[in-house]
């Protein structure tokens, strides 16, 4: 039956991996390279590019042409990029503060209940993000779930205007990626030896010190992994800024989409994507370094 398979182990290996290489290579890796090339070309006013080399897309990040055709500094896009980092950082921090105690609490539970909690945390993650973000419009919006009872009770007199703010985007981002923070922290806490906590306590560490000097350092890999897993998708987020920011408070992800859907400046969109991609690569390199250092330290200890 298996006569048609290559005889050598290496031949079989590559035959088995070929489809993965083919699909991901052709439809992911090659497109990213073409995207890089496109970012150095001139835009075609009707979408697409003209095969003329140009740095215009990268210049556009910082400068614009004034009425007399002089290059002048334009902070507009830098501000959006800066805001994206700020909001992503804020959302990551919120996820950490909100998620860590929960991951810790789940670790303290008996095993069958732990599994159920994890199931409850993963459920929203597998459901449609667009729909769940849309639900926040109903909650935060004018005449929504939060405002209506407050207005009826006379606590507030006018709309709180929570929608279309940075706060709304931050809530949306936190909500979107919260499970990605809790799961890796839980995974590293699960391996924690609770006798170490007893030992610390016996050595007169108080509760606060047990937490900051024993628990948190030991689950640091989980915390770092969680932060990266939240931070990266936040940076490229499109749904939360678009629905909750009303499309006016742009972030990198929505700015990229805008270049292809409306502005029809493909090279600029490609350049922004390259910027996003390099931010991800830098974050991952930083993560790999930290993991390597940790491994080296554990090796020498």
């Amino acid at each position: 039956m298996s006569d048609w398979l290559p005889r050598s182990a290496a031949g079989r290996r590559w035959l088995g991996l070929a489809p993965s290489y083919f699909i991901i290579g052709i439809f992911m890796l090659v497109p990213m390279i073409i995207m890089g090339v496109f970012s150095f070309l001139e835009p075609n006013p009707y979408g697409g590019v003209r095969p003329v080399g140009s740095l215009a897309a990268y210049i556009k990040l910082f400068f614009e042409y004034d009425l007399e055709d002089n290059l002048v500094f334009n902070p507009g896009y830098i501000n959006i990029i800066f805001r994206s980092f700020q909001l992503s950082f804020g959302a990551t921090l919120l996820c950490l503060v909100f998620g860590f105690p929960v991951a810790y609490y789940i670790t303290l539970q008996p095993e069958h209940r732990r599994n159920f909690y994890i199931y409850l945390i993963t459920i929203p993650f597998w459901t449609n993000l667009l729909i769940r973000t849309f639900a926040w419009i109903i909650i935060l919006g004018r005449g929504g779930v939060i405002e209506t009872p407050l207005l009826a009770a006379g606590i507030i007199e006018d709309s709180l205007r929570m929608m279309y703010t940075d706060g709304a985007i931050a809530i949306g981002l936190t909500y979107s990626y919260l499970p990605l923070m809790v799961l890796p922290i839980y995974a590293s806490l699960e391996k924690l030896d609770f006798r170490l906590l007893e030992a610390a306590s016996d050595l007169y560490a108080n509760r606060f010190e047990v937490m900051t000097k024993v628990v948190i350092p030991l689950c640091k890999p989980g915390i770092i992994a969680g932060c990266i897993l939240v931070f990266i998708p936040c940076l490229g987020a499109f749904i939360a800024p678009n629905l909750l920011g009303g499309g006016k408070k742009l972030m990198l992800g929505s700015l990229v989409q805008f270049q292809f859907a409306s502005a029809r400046n493909w090279p600029f969109g490609a350049a922004l994507s390259m910027l996003l991609l390099s931010a991800v690569v830098i974050t991952l390199i930083f993560y790999a370094r930290a993991a390597k250092n940790r491994a080296a330290m554990e090796g020498s200890a």
Partner: protein, 281 residues
Amino acid sequence: MSEKMQKPSSVPGGKKSLPVGHYRGLGAWTIIFFIFLYLPIVVLIFYSFNANRMVMNWGGFGFDWYLKAFQNDDIQNAVWNSLIVATVATIFATAIATIGALVLARGGNFRGKTVSLGLITLPLMVPEIVTAVAVLIFFSAIGMNWGLVNVIIAHITFCIPFAFMPIRARLEGMDTSLEQAARDLYASEWETFRYVTAPLLMPGIVAGAMLAFVISMDDFIITLMVGGAGSTTLPVYIYSMIRRGLTPEINAVSTVLLLVSIAIVTAYWVVSKKTQTTTAH
């Protein structure tokens, strides 16, 4: 945060002291966490039964919007597109991921193993919007404009790692001695695979296929960018509905999609739990 980090109160008359490692308020914090996580889902489902034309004005309980949604031709088309894309993408992605996982889990250590692993999980690392832009540019550069086929190819690509992970986890948790025993008893390689490896691996493959299906059904941004006018999937259609104005019809459609995802993930959970117990014995 600070209130739960109280010092041990073993002082007479103080609150009863907690065991080491336990903190006050953790349970309450967790409850708030789950309310935050599930509030939008509950609100969404609740308002889908709103009889009023405006989402936020409660006009009584009714199923009107479900009926309207089911009779809407555009929604029916979008549902069909979503099902076609998800089914085809799941079949291809699961098949590709299965043979890839077999090589990576059973092929021993070989040069290029880390690179192969990196390549297969690449779609997980790259932000979705970047994938979307890159694939859009690629299809336009080679002039390929086959509507739903473009969408399906993009979906196969990002579904591969989701199908791959549970299959590989299952393979690595499997006892290889059974395969060795089969070989010792003169089963051919194919027979060993067909009658030993494949049945044991099946739960992993089913789990991988389920994840791939859910991921494909839920994808929005890549489909929005890659898909043309005729290849609207359900999430893309829901997005266009939100932009046109909020009616409970959105909630009704969304509730159905939500419940389908929850049902599949729950099935996945049950399957993987069963496999855990069977491998333990």
